[in-house]
């Protein structure tokens, strides 16, 4: 033992110091150890081959532990077993370096947060947290990535000297890649995966957690799927297609032209792609291939994992084992064993095999684990010994003596998270990520006042300057807003809502600019009127036409407002109702808002009602309000090419309610029937039809005005909702929902009261007598007897008194009745009818009272006997009246 070994060995020196008191076997270990030390001392002249990475030449790492007393025992000290393991590891390390001199050091026993060296396998603490969200590997990985803040390794090409416990990492919300991998591995093994921490090398982008070159994972699937129409199978009969009279040469020339354009486009696209690739190519990295990184390997076999894959813990993405970002593997470990990679990594991880039982490729540290890595049975230990230890002995190392060494249980305390901590997922409840041209901000629910949980900002450039689209997702909002997308370029906003709004709004698209367009999509099943979509837009009509009088080109510019309501599943088959408005005269002022805009026309479109004849089933109904016309178009049936139409003109005095409108032939402007066989409507029917249409027009106008009002209401309401932005809490969330908590407290309180009441019910019948003799703490047999008799006596007396009282009242009542009767007898003759009635009523009352009293007396007699027996049995069982006559202190 020399001090020259540097500080890293200081700990093992201590270990050795403790070990003197241990068993012989460990003494032997120590001897081995000192042998190794001797070897180690021989080493220093040799490592000329790798002067940079000689492990013993590190400066002493300083782990400042401010308050070690806050950590549990296992964090501050090493158990004997752990010390034994540490010596064993040290041995392993020396041999390893002796045999493979050009390999880099292994990550074996870094210091923990208390400055104590701990074996990496024991730092893995398999834990299954009680959140179902952490049960799948991708969710768990995402959680770890979200939960921690990333710290870079310093320097990037060296292994860290410390590895904190996953517990500390979890609570501190920060860690380097090893901490990430360790924590994630603990979760995954706990969830039943065959997961390992991997120590190796990766590209700069991975090591720096630089995701700005990755595409945005939250990209919206905006493109709708094109449904390919399946052509019906070939049939026996087909009509020959109509003759094609177009010129083949023209088509050919046209095609050639199109091809040329397409080729041009392709070429430009390719150039563009190349340019983008050039921009996105990372800068050359001087440290390429020696940047140390740690990640997680999941092997197949458990939890239905079909093949081995990596998980990048810093981002939470799954990666294939041949991913080009990973450049090499030094070692892997889990909570049971440690394997050193013996395969060539000169071309990355591409050709690596992950059969850890293959000893040519993976050098293991503990023999038993190889057998444990198969089926887990108790007898496997012996097989492992016989089969594998032979080779061990061939190597002639000291490992034979350590065949029974096991990895001790983890020194880390069980990981735990409160639901609140889990919900706050991110460090300080928020986190920001950068992807290619995208910035993603995540927030914990309830953290932000407006309920935002995710904000995705898409940019046009790589420097995050030119914003093009912002998507914000919300949760727990009172107005049920779920997502808001803001297209900066067109200045339009698309909001989606969850079901449950009073107006059943599902989607709302609107713009801010002068182009006026607004679309509202509703949950049509929840609406009584089946409204599915409402669309409001400004139509701009620009017509150029030749004016014959002026012989010039005139231009007419006209704007019209269009409001369309689309319906689904209505009993009357209404599909949409479209209203055209005249533009409102340009006046300003708030009063303007209340005016209804003048309607030009309303069009209603109906679906086919199969129960009616096509020719009687209205397809389109136009109320040309401005022109005082109705235009009806009927459905076209399968054999006709034209629909029937009918046009009415409103009578001149239609607005005058006092005049009965008379039929005249002018009212029916024109009729077209597709087939002369169709039934002609009688004049009477036409007349009634027109009256009905006029009624309908009023109704429809009202509907349209209502729709307008609804839009205005919606705008106002949305503004108010935006301002109030209160979040709502689930009734099950007692931590946040005040009402819920109050209710629960109330229940608790009621429970308690109930309990108390029950206690009170058990009246202590001995208390008054005990009080009479001054509440002694002990009594003797005699006193007990006295107490007993006095209690019984008291009870008897009380019941007799009660009975007497009732008896007395009864007699009293009888006496009164008799007097009354006598009085009646006397005055019977000169009595009025009313008095007589009064007398009868009094008598009845008295009789009733008598009856009740009688019953009560009876009941008392019966009950008092029973009660007496009860009292007696209670007194017999009372512990205070028995040996040793101790009277417990009364609880207050």
């Amino acid at each position: 033992m020399t001090e020259t070994n540097g500080d890293e060995l200081h700990a093992s020196h201590d270990v050795n110091g403790h070990e003197h008191a241990d068993t012989d076997e460990e003494v032997a270990d120590q001897q081995n150890d000192s042998n190794n030390d001797v070897q180690e001392e021989i080493l220093p002249p040799k490592p000329k081959l790798q002067p940079i990475i000689a492990p013993d030449m590190f400066p002493p790492p300083i782990v400042i532990c401010e308050n070690p007393e806050n950590y549990p025992e296992s964090y501050r000290t090493n158990t004997k077993k752990e010390e034994l393991i540490l010596t064993f590891i040290e041995n392993f390390r020396r041999q390893y370096h002796y045999i493979y001199r050009d390999r880099k050091p292994l990550f074996l026993n870094p210091l923990n947060e208390c400055g104590l060296p701990k074996f990496v396998c024991t730092t893995v603490q398999p834990t299954l947290l009680s959140f179902s969200k952490l049960f799948q590997w991708n969710d768990a990985a995402e959680f770890v990535a979200d939960h921690l803040n990333y710290e870079l390794l310093e320097p990037p090409h060296e292994l860290p000297k410390t590895l904190w416990s996953p517990e500390k990492v979890l609570y501190d919300h920060r860690g380097n890649c090893f901490d990430y991998a360790n924590l994630l591995c603990s979760f995954l093994i706990g969830a039943g995966y065959d997961a390992f921490v991997v120590s190796g090398y990766a590209t700069r982008e991975v090591c720096f957690m630089d995701t700005t070159r990755l595409p945005n994972p939250y990209i919206k699937k905006r493109e709708e799927k094109h449904v390919e129409r399946v052509k019906p199978p070939h049939k026996k009969y087909t009509v020959k297609p109509p003759k094609d009279l177009t010129s083949k040469y023209d088509a050919y020339m046209h095609q050639r032209h199109l091809d040329k354009i397409q080729a041009d486009k392709n070429r430009r696209q390719e150039e563009e792609n190349k340019r983008i690739a050039e921009i996105e190519k990372p800068l050359p990295d001087p440290l390429y291939g020696i940047r140390v990184h740690a990640w997680v390997l999941v092997l197949p076999g458990k939890r239905e994992v079909p093949e081995a894959f990596f998980i990048e813990p810093t981002t939470g993405y799954g990666k294939a084992t041949n991913d080009v970002e990973y450049l090499g593997i030094e070692s892997v470990w889990n909570h049971q064993n440690y394997w050193v990679n013996m395969q060539d990594c000169s071309n990355g991880c591409e050709s690596l095999q992950f059969d850890l039982n293959d000893q040519a490729r993976w050098e293991f540290m503990f023999t038993y684990s190889t057998s444990l890595r198969g089926a887990v049975t108790a007898t496997l230990n012996t097989i492992g010994n016989s089969a594998i230890l032979d080779e061990e002995e061939d190597k002639g190392t000291a490992e034979t003596t350590q065949k029974d060494i096991e990895v001790p249980p983890s020194w880390v305390r069980h990981l735990d998270l409160t639901p609140a901590e889990f919900q706050n997922r991110y460090p300080h409840s928020r986190k920001t990520y950068f992807y290619k041209k995208t910035r993603v901000e995540k927030y914990a629910p309830y953290f932000m006042k407006d309920g935002i949980v995710l904000k995705i900002s898409e940019f046009a450039d790589y420097d995050f300057k030119e914003l093009i689209y912002v998507t914000q997702k919300y949760e727990h909002r009172h107005d049920k807003l779920e997502e808001r997308g803001h297209d900066i370029r067109t200045n339009t906003v698309c909001e989606t809502y969850l079901p449950g709004r009073p107006d059943q709004l599902k989607e709302h698209t609107y713009g801010f600019g002068p182009e006026f367009e607004r679309t509202m999509i509703y949950y049509d099943k929840a609406r009584l009127d089946g409204l599915a979509k409402r669309h409001e837009t400004m139509l701009e009509l620009t017509d150029y036409f030749v004016n014959p009088r002026l012989d010039g080109l005139a231009k007419r510019h006209e704007t019209m407002l269009e409001l369309t309501d689309y319906f689904v599943n209505r009993d009357d088959f209404l599909e949409y109702r479209k209203a055209l408005f005249e533009p409102r005269p340009k006046k300003f002022g708030p009063a303007e808002k209340d005016n209804q805009r003048p309607i030009i026309s309303i069009t209603e479109r109906y679906g086919r009602n199969v129960e009616l004849n096509a020719n009687d089933d209205i397809r389109e109904l136009v109320f040309a309000i401005k022109d005082d016309k109705f235009v009806i178009t009927y459905h076209r049936d399968d054999i006709h090419i034209t629909p029937s139409t009918r046009t009415y003109v409103k009578p001149i005095n239609w607005n005058d309610k006092t005049i009965t409108i008379k039929w005249s032939d002018d009212l029916l402007l024109e009729t077209y029937q597709a087939d002369e066989d169709f039934k002609q409507m009688s004049k009477r029917d036409l007349y009634y039809k027109m009256l009905k249409l006029m009624e309908q027009e009023e109704e429809v106008t009202r509907r349209v005005q209502k729709a307008e009002d609804e839009i205005r209401d919606l705008q106002n309401r949305r503004q108010q909702e935006e301002l109030s932005n209160e979040l709502e809490y689930s009734v099950y969330d007692t931590e946040r929902n005040k009402k819920s908590r109050e209710y629960r407290d109330l229940l608790d309180k009621r429970d308690k009261e109930e309990k108390r009441k029950r206690e009170i019910k058990d009246v202590d019948y001995l208390a008054p007598f005990l009080a009479a003799i001054g509440k002694p703490s002990r009594i003797n047999a005699h006193t007990a007897q006295t107490l007993r008799t006095s209690a019984q006596h008291d009870f008897k007396e009380r019941s007799i008194r009660k009975a007497n009282l009732m008896q007395a009242r009864y007699e009293n009542e009888v006496q009164e009745l008799i007097t009354k009767q006598q009085w009646y007898q006397k005055h019977q003759i000169g009595m009025t009818k009313e008095d007589e009635l009064e007398y009868q009523r009094v008598c009845q009352d008295a009789q009733f009272r008598l009856h009740i009293l009688e019953e009560r007396l009876d009941r008392h007699k019966k009950l008092s006997a029973e009660k007496y027996l009860q009292l007696e049995s209670k007194l017999n069982e009372d512990p205070r009246l028995k040996e040793p006559y101790i009277i417990p202190e009364e609880k207050k």
Binding site: K236, T238, V239, I639, A674, S682, K683
Partner: protein, 516 residues
């Protein structure tokens, strides 16, 4: 309750009365805002009220083919009649009349409400076809018969029955009997039937009802079987192989053949007949199977054809409709501009419109002609294919009939041999007791017996010929009728209709500019 017949003059259902009844149902009454129609459109009326009119005979109602509701209560009707054409009737009220029998309702299959309250009916009967009957009122009649109640069991949709005021209803166990026997009704005499009394009633009549149900099930089974049989037969008929699934043809050959039947008494004929029958039936059966198979292929062919034709027509119609719609759009735009100028259609626009119209007409006509071409060709192909199928069928059947004839010839030969042998034996006096007397003289002479054989053979042959002719003539008839119909409907009628429609449209559209 006797009505004073003689005091009332019976009325006749006249045109005036009907007109009046129809008019009175209209809301406007005598209002003169609409000119009165001179003619009554009978088929447009779906509800008619002819009550308190002393009508004696239900007549002159046959024109109201779309009538769904007819009220003829409080008349003096004695017979239900004249309702055969009112097949859409769902509501019929004949209460307070003098009807004695339920009859004449067989065609009213849609009827759900029937009221015969206060009549003189003694038996509930003749209502088997009213499957949809829901409410039935027969109160205040002379029904006094358990069987009438049992009769109502057959109406599965019956929910309300009124039996009050009948002699039967005054019997003590009337209520329990009725609710036990009519489990489907919910209301008896307009009162809801409770569960408890019904269960009790059901318990009381458990055995009788059980028996009823068994017999009803048997009846139903029988009906179903005969129905199936009918359907089967229809199918065979359409395949032109009816009565060929078993030995019907063979037995038919011997049925009208009295001579032949005597001949069969010849010793050894039994085995021969059995042998021949087996072969014969085997051949007939193959013909039967073949026929069914052929029918299937024919049906498939026809289906394919119709799918193709309908698709072609739909596609064509759709395209034409698109053209028309586009034109209408164009028309509105064209005239919308004009109207804003506050003057008539300018001549330039009129000319443009006229050109567009001609163009439209040409387009539509071109489409129609293309369709006619397409259909014509397809129909021809179809006709050819189907003709081949039919001739294939005929040939194959002919060959089989040939086989049957050969078999008959063989049979004849064998029977002649047997007969000759028998005659010889008779000559020798060998057969004495075996023959019955009446056939004895047949075997007395060789010529007689040969004659008899020949007659029998001829009869058998003619039977076969007859069957063959029938089959072939029917199938060729079927083919020509169908093909003719297709030509008529699809080529001629359809085309004419479309052309008329196009010209109507063009005329209608041209009127726009002709007015101005």
């Amino acid at each position: 309750m006797a009505r004073l017949y003689d005091a009332i003059e019976p009325e006749v259902v006249s045109m005036d009365m009907l007109q009046n009844a129809v008019e009175s149902l209209r809301a406007d009454g005598d209002n003169q805002v609409v000119p009165k129609e001179d003619k009554l459109d009978y088929s447009a009326v779906n509800s008619l009220r002819l009550d308190f009119r002393s009508i004696l005979r239900m007549e002159n109602l046959w024109l109201f083919s779309n009538l769904t509701k007819l009220q003829m209560d409080n008349n003096i009707i004695e017979r239900i009649e004249g309702l055969d054409t009112l097949q859409k009737l769902t509501w019929l009220d004949l209460s307070f009349n003098n009807i004695t029998n339920i009859e004449g309702l067989d065609t009213l299959t849609e009827l759900t409400d029937l009221s015969l309250y206060n009549n003189r009916i003694t038996n509930i009967e003749n209502m088997d076809t009213l499957k949809k009957l829901n409410v039935f009122s027969i109160g205040n009649n002379q029904v006094d018969d358990e069987n009438s109640i049992r009769y109502l069991r057959r109406f599965d949709n019956l929910r309300t029955v009124c039996l009050r005021g009948n002699p039967f209803a005054s019997k003590p166990d009337y209520y329990t009997f009725t609710i036990a026997h009519l489990p489907q009704i919910h209301f008896l005499d307009y009162k809801l039937i409770d569960e408890a009394p019904r269960e009790e009633a059901l318990k009381k009549y458990e055995i009788q009802i059980q028996q009823l149900i068994t017999t009803e099930d048997q009846d139903r089974e029988k009906d179903k079987k005969s129905d199936d049989k009918k359907k089967q037969h229809q199918l065979h008929k359409e395949a032109f192989v009816e009565n060929m699934d078993q030995n019907q043809l063979f037995t038919a050959m011997f049925k009208d053949d009295s001579e032949g039947q005597k001949l069969l008494l010849v010793p050894g004929a039994d085995e021969l007949v059995a042998q021949i029958e087996e072969k014969f039936v085997a051949i007939v059966h193959t013909m039967f199977e073949f026929g069914l198979k052929e029918k299937e292929t024919r049906d498939k062919e026809i289906d394919d054809f119709w799918i193709c034709v309908n698709e072609a027509k739909d596609e064509n119609t759709r395209r034409a409709a698109v053209i028309v719609d586009e034109f209408k759009e164009y028309r509105t735009q064209l005239f919308a501009k004009e109207d804003l100028e506050q003057q008539g259609v300018s001549s330039a626009v009129a000319a443009e419109y006229d050109d567009a119209l001609t163009n439209l007409r040409n387009k539509l006509m071109a489409l129609e002609i293309a369709l006619v071409d397409q259909l014509e060709e397809t129909i021809q192909t179809f006709e050819r294919n189907l003709g081949e199928m039919v001739s294939n069928f005929t040939e194959s059947m002919r060959a089989n009939f040939g086989l049957l004839r050969e078999l008959q010839a063989f049979f004849n030969e064998s029977i002649i041999n047997l007969c000759v042998a028998a005659v010889e034996r008779y000559m020798k006096g060998e057969l004495d007791d075996e023959f019955p007397d009446e056939t004895r003289d047949l075997f007395a002479d060789k010529d007689t017996i040969l004659n008899a054989c020949q007659t029998s053979d001829e009869i058998h042959r003619s039977k076969l010929d007859q069957r063959e002719d029938e089959m072939f003539s029917r199938i060729s008839n079927w083919l020509t009728t169908m093909v003719d119909n297709i030509h008529e409907d699809e080529e001629y009628n359809r085309n004419r209709k479309r052309i008329i429609e196009i010209s109507r449209l063009i005329d209608y559209l041209r009127a726009d500019i002709e007015d101005m």
